[in-house]
Symmetry: C2
Subunit: 645 residues, 2 copies
């Protein structure tokens, strides 16, 4: 049930969920409260006065008895229990104009694609099916071999014909068939051949049709996700994740490829990612009290380098111009042959890739988002360690990788970090004093700033006029605002002073950092425009934008548009699909149609090497500005900036 | 150049090859010479008088100076150099009537099926083909993945479309393609799919189309044969063989199956036969100076039990009624997964079996002999550790295993032995004295008697009237012929006295042995008649008889007919194909048509469980007679026996 929170002296009321933290509520309302420690409660700067209503609060040592009695509370230590009225103390008070902008309030719609939708569309039809048959036991008058008996039963009882099968079944077939008096369940893979000609991958004694499970795996450069699927019920039972153990050999695909060229390097990388999958899978199965023997198959989506490394295929030429991977589609392979700790009957299916830098994760995303059958012109964006984009609709698809680098995962930024505990993710700045209000993930003392935090910080610095469109700090502020200071390597903004941080040093954002962020967002934006131009279209023609990945789930759309990272379109054209790669791998396991479509979809995606595409460099240079040198690309932002002035 | 040998006092002249042994020449001429030591020269009984002509002889210590000077020579130590005239001394002289019968003179025709014939028929067309392509190296404007580039090259340059491929190729593809500047040779398997859709199993740098090899393997219960094939030239380069190392776990399929049920037994059996194949293969490759990496694939033919054991499939139910094997056709399997020491790209193809006791060796034999496309009604017989028969033509095929047991390999016969050094194989008996003339394999002192020797001995005992049609010794001979003697277990014939043998004991054939041989031949004969009757045909309708296996190569047809083991048909209807199983495996490797036919042929073969077939038991009992209770089945033998009387 919602609770009303009124912020005075602004008289602004918003509704929040019961239990919401008051600092978050303020941020949501666009109300600035100084807060330096990310929400841990140790800086004591986020004091507010509780005028009325019920809260649940923790009194640390930072409030004097007098303050406590007067009704002062630390916003970050206070949760809303009933409707409350609070007053922002003068030191946090802002110029009113800040209130004209609501932050984080963009109602980014989740993509409508999910299992329920799949079922509604009649696409829920796993390629793997279990079929139970009762066979008459052999007699001297009818002593055909066990396999022929089973084939005959499947043909007569289920219309299954021209079966092929996996060799290893034969090693247990005689025993399994006799275990429950010739009642057996066959697991059939309908993906390899046309209808009515499946490949048999398993036989089990008795009727096991109600127990049928599969795994979908997303192998990210950073994180490995495993999802457990119930193919009998058509449900996602759960998922688990962990860091890709390859992380110890390098942060990004390039350093991994470099490592793979060392003696034994490829083998080490292959073993470590498989080790991660095994460990996550076993944990997941344990949670759901499932034996690994009940798993029928595994679908995997990953970027091209991760796919090569997972399969132990040398990725050498992915890194070297002209950037050729070994293969787009990898043939079926017995999972055990890769070291996966699954039964012998489990084969690995992986989603096809398009090129060296547009991989199976993106193809899975295109499958998951339904882009390949979408009538509307759509832009699909996945920003992670690199940025990949796809533009098109059911008729055509064009794709490219933008050399955005890992800035939006915190890479190449001095105090950048991954979106984990202690990362600054929400920022507001008092334009008068330049004092910040920050919230960290987990509301602990800050350790650094994550990707969405960087976007938010850059946007607020820009919108408050603290930095100029060229990314440099306003000269006049350096003398008056202590948080803006000059260093040998240019100017910087101090987000948190050493004493308020976990790391014991000032957390800053420098002009060098800002430059890196602008290059990254410029590369992305130039990508959209170039791809669209290559097919004679403009940004305004985009009817839909789909954001994939963790980025899509956490980004503040308004801020991302404000800095020129995303195109300035009506916000309702945006939606996000979360981990589209994992969802794609899951859909492929749930839908034979999608499994048989995946290679066609990959083939449909025309890859553009942006560095080779005319006009890209000009677009890139034009995009190195906040939000862009051509204001007409960003009408709503230009309008707002003008209004603010 | 032939040399004439005249035997006096008979005045009989035959022509033999220069260098022929005189004892063999006598046997060939139907001239009896006493000979007890198998031809080793130690008994001294085969003395003949050289009347004229040139011989090459060895004088042992058994001839006195007087004898030597008179011209006596040991026949077994003498080889014909020029035309010679020899006189048989009185102690070896026979009643003339013996001469009316020529032994071993049946001109058994070899089957016309061989590689040359295959080529003439346009069937020489290996399913595995190498195709060399020159590709243009990738550029930024054309940086499709390596596999797509290769597929495109194969499509454009060789019309190969819709390729599938083996996963493991991808692990070396990038390197191989760049090794000789994008000139590569692909090995394509056209057996798995329809025309124009092959499966790629290997890629090699440069043009290797002229070097393309394969292996054909026949896994016998006793012996493993490996044949080396040149697929580029269409030639059999050579073969090698060794005893199946499983022999240490039992002589026949039943004892092997029993052993396989012990803890770890199946694994041991699997490993031992694979060890034998590896060892024979490496020896063969070394002889031909070929690296194992140049082998593209392997085809295997074996009986059903050997097939199960080779693949590590539990053969338990082959032995237990109702005798169901696990499968008739085994799917393709990577050879390395069985422990075969071949490259990763080698897959094993095995010839399909029909039933538990009519295996892939018989199907391979039917393929090799061309029976499945033969217009004439044909009987195919393979007598080995067991006896299998196939009857039919291009329209239909019926088959059965006869529980003949291993008698014709020497099994179950007290002094029976395999056809190796020291085995008595040729026998003649002086009907007046019952003294034998024996020749052993290798002409060494006898150790025992092999299958063809047993047939020959039984035939001669019967034809000379020493045993009666019921298999018992003629009572009156026991008192007058010292070689025929009564024992606790019935009567027996002493083929060789202890002092003339290698084993230091009398080598005998007892009535118990004879009974076993009669049961074995009776089972076979009842099989022919029953299978024919089941389709409304008679023995006389047979237009052709094909004998397979070592048995077919060494058997004396006349004698085998005389004892009732083979039907009494005009001798020119008989032909032999040698190791039909190995030839079948080779043909399958050489001919895509035959490879794609093999399963159809196996399916075409209707299996009869003789024990379940009406009339079989009566036929069997009727056949327990020499040659048969119904003389009309053996007109030529009855005629001869009548004439002899």
């Amino acid at each position: 049930m919602g609770k009303k929170v009124t912020f005075n002296p602004y008289g602004l009321t918003i509704e929040v969920a019961e239990g919401e933290n008051l600092l978050r509520a303020a941020l949501q309302a666009g109300v600035h409260i100084n807060a330096s420690c990310g929400g841990e409660g140790v800086c004591g700067k986020c004091k507010i006065l509780l005028e009325s209503g019920e809260v649940d609060t923790f009194r640390g040592s930072l409030l004097t008895d007098e303050e406590w009695d007067l009704g002062y509370r630390q916003a970050c230590q206070t949760r809303v229990v009933g409707d409350v009225v609070v007053r922002i103390p003068p030191e946090s008070l802002l110029d009113r104009r800040t209130l004209t902008r609501r932050r984080g309030g963009v109602g980014l719609r989740p993509s409508p694609i999910n299992i329920a939708a799949l079922k509604e569309q009649g696409l829920y039809n796993p390629a793997f099916k279990k079929r139970c048959v009762r066979l008459s036991p052999p007699t001297l008058a009818d002593n055909v071999n066990d396999l022929a008996r089973l084939e005959d039963g499947l043909a007569r009882q289920h219309g299954v014909e021209s079966l092929t099968l996996d060799f290893y079944l034969l090693r247990k077939m005689a025993r399994v068939m006799r275990e429950q008096d010739f009642q057996v369940t066959a697991t059939l893979d309908f993906s390899r051949r046309r209808f009515r000609s499946p490949h048999m991958i398993n036989v089990e004694a008795g009727d096991t049709t109600q127990r049928h499970f599969a795994l979908a795996v997303d192998i990210g450069t950073t994180t490995v996700w495993v999802q457990l699927l119930d193919l009998a019920k058509g449900e996602i039972l759960g998922h688990a994740a962990d860091y890709n153990a390859q992380m110890s050999y390098g942060d990004d695909v390039i350093t991994r490829i470099v490592f793979s060229q060392k003696e034994g390097g490829l083998h080490k990388l292959q073993r470590s990612v498989v080790g991660t999958i095994n460990q996550v899978m076993h944990r997941l199965l344990k949670q759901h009290k499932l034996a690994v023997e009940e798993i029928s198959h595994m679908t995997v989506a990953a970027n091209t380098t991760m796919t090569h490394l997972f399969y132990g295929i040398d990725p050498k030429y992915i890194r070297l111009s002209p950037y050729t991977p070994t293969a787009g589609s990898v043939p079926l392979l017995r999972a055990r042959d890769l070291g996966l700790e699954v039964p012998q009957h489990v084969f690995v299916y992986s989603v096809s890739s398009v090129s060296s830098y547009v991989g199976g994760d993106i193809v899975a995303g295109v499958l998951a988002s339904g882009l390949y059958k979408e009538p509307r012109l759509t832009l699909f964006i996945d920003i992670g360690t690199n940025g990949e984009i796809v533009i098109g609709n059911q008729q055509w698809l064009a794709c490219a990788a933008c050399s955005a680098g890992p800035a939006f995962e915190g890479g190449g930024i001095r105090f950048g970090m991954r979106a984990t505990q202690g990362a600054i993710e929400e920022v507001s700045i008092n334009p008068d004093t330049c004092e910040p209000m920050i919230i960290t993930i987990g509301m602990t003392k800050p350790k650094g700033i994550c990707g969405s935090g960087l976007i938010n910080l850059l946007a607020v610095l820009m919108e408050e006029g603290i930095i100029l469109p060229n990314g440099k700090f306003r000269d006049d502020l350096i003398t008056c605002a202590p948080r803006i200071r000059r260093t040998e390597n240019g100017n910087e903004y101090v987000i948190a002073y050493a004493e308020d941080t976990e790391i014991g040093q000032d957390i800053t954002l420098s002009e060098v950092d800002i430059d890196n962020l602008m290059r990254a967002k410029g590369a992305m934006f130039a990508g959209y425009v170039t791809l669209l131009e290559s097919v004679g279209l403009r940004l305004q023609d985009l009817e839909q934008v789909i954001l994939a990945g963790a980025f899509g789930s956490f980004v503040n759309i308004d801020n991302a548009i404000a800095i020129g990272l995303l195109p300035d379109l009506p916000r309702d054209r945006y939606q996000f699909v979360g981990n589209a790669s994992l969802l794609g791998a899951t859909l492929v396991a749930f839908s034979r149609e999608m499994l048989s479509e995946e290679r066609r979809v990959a083939d449909m995606m025309t890859n553009f090497e942006l560095s080779e595409t005319p006009g890209y460099m000009n677009q890139y240079i034009a995009a190195l500005f906040l939000p862009h040198t051509q204001a007409e690309y960003f009408p709503s932002i230009s309008e707002r900036l003008r209004a603010a002035k």
